[in-house]
């Protein structure tokens, strides 16, 4: 699958609130289909359908426990999809950290000026 195809699959999978909730739940730890069905008042087959979409997008995988088949969240596709915004964020966060430092400097110099102005004449 190309990066573009993977992104398509990722966003298609994320386009459903139940699937996002499943991912949020799996982010806290692996869970079986039974575990996952509980909070959604959904049948197991319905949950399984969602899991299939998530699995095809590579967002989750199946654990090694053959009996329980717990699902696990996979970080890579989400990471790819978020890459652009993250690069942009990093760029600006860098600039803004420089602005933080400058603001501290300016605040300090203003305070010093105020103090000087307030100092009573001897």
């Amino acid at each position: 699958m190309s990066t573009s195809d993977r992104l398509d699959a990722t966003f298609a999978a994320l386009a459903d609130p139940t699937r996002r909730a499943i991912l949020a739940r799996l982010a806290k730890g692996d869970a079986t289909v039974m575990d996952l069905a509980k909070p959604f008042s959904m049948s197991q087959p319905a949950i399984s359908k969602h899991l299939k979409v998530l699995e095809q997008a590579g967002l989750i995988s199946r654990g090694s426990d053959a009996q329980r088949r717990p699902r696990r969240i996979e970080a890579k596709p989400l990471g790819e999809a978020n890459e652009w915004l993250e690069n942009y964020r990093k760029f600006w966060e860098g600039r803004y950290q420089q602005l933080d430092a400058l603001l501290d400097e300016l605040k300090l110099s203003k305070q010093t000026k105020t103090k000087r102005a307030k100092r009573p004449r001897s």
Binding site: L7, L14, A81, W84, E93, L102
Partner: protein, 163 residues
């Protein structure tokens, strides 16, 4: 000590990107830092190794601004500029943004809001592109349609994941 990132970037609606960032300073100061060349030159720099060579700001409605950055090592420059559309000191600036070597067609409208609370400032920058196509191109997205909404969802999900 809190180390998590302070800047939030999301796609919004069809044509916008929104950045939100808090600063531990009153908004008068944050506003000044965004509008006075001698202050802008101290922070609005490119990546390491770049300097801001030109910084001209004519802060009035219809006034222009121009920034040119230069890479010290090889002298490569990058320039951009635009025109001020709305100025409400110290809370609001709307200006256009055009890059010299346009990496996206047409101009974008940059709306900066400075909100103050308890001597702290929240800066909200909304970049509105001239079309959904442009914004999505800026998002460097190979996807068609629905990208903005998807990014919003992704953002929400990331928040859930990092909580």
């Amino acid at each position: 000590m809190e180390t998590k990132s302070k800047l939030k970037v999301t796609a919004q609606g069809e044509r916008e990107i929104v950045m939100t960032r808090d600063f531990d300073a009153p908004r008068d100061l944050v506003f000044e830092c965004h509008t006075k060349p001698e202050l802008l030159k101290k922070w609005l720099l490119g990546p390491d190794g770049w300097i801001m060579e030109v910084c001209e700001v004519n802060l009035k409605i219809g006034g222009k601004y121009r920034y040119v950055w230069k890479q010290i090592a090889d002298g490569i420059t990058m320039g951009m500029g635009g025109e001020f559309k709305v100025i409400t000191r110290p809370e609001l600036i709307h200006c256009t943004e055009v890059f010299d070597e346009a990496w996206y067609p047409g101009e974008a409208l940059v709306q900066s809001h400075f909100l103050e609370k308890n001597e702290r400032t929240t800066l909200i920058v909304t970049i509105l592109y001239n079309s959904k196509e442009t914004r999505d191109m800026v998002l460097k997205s190979p996807m068609e349609g629905g990208v903005a909404i998807s990014y919003n969802r992704l953002e929400d999900l990331m928040e859930t994941l990092t909580k």
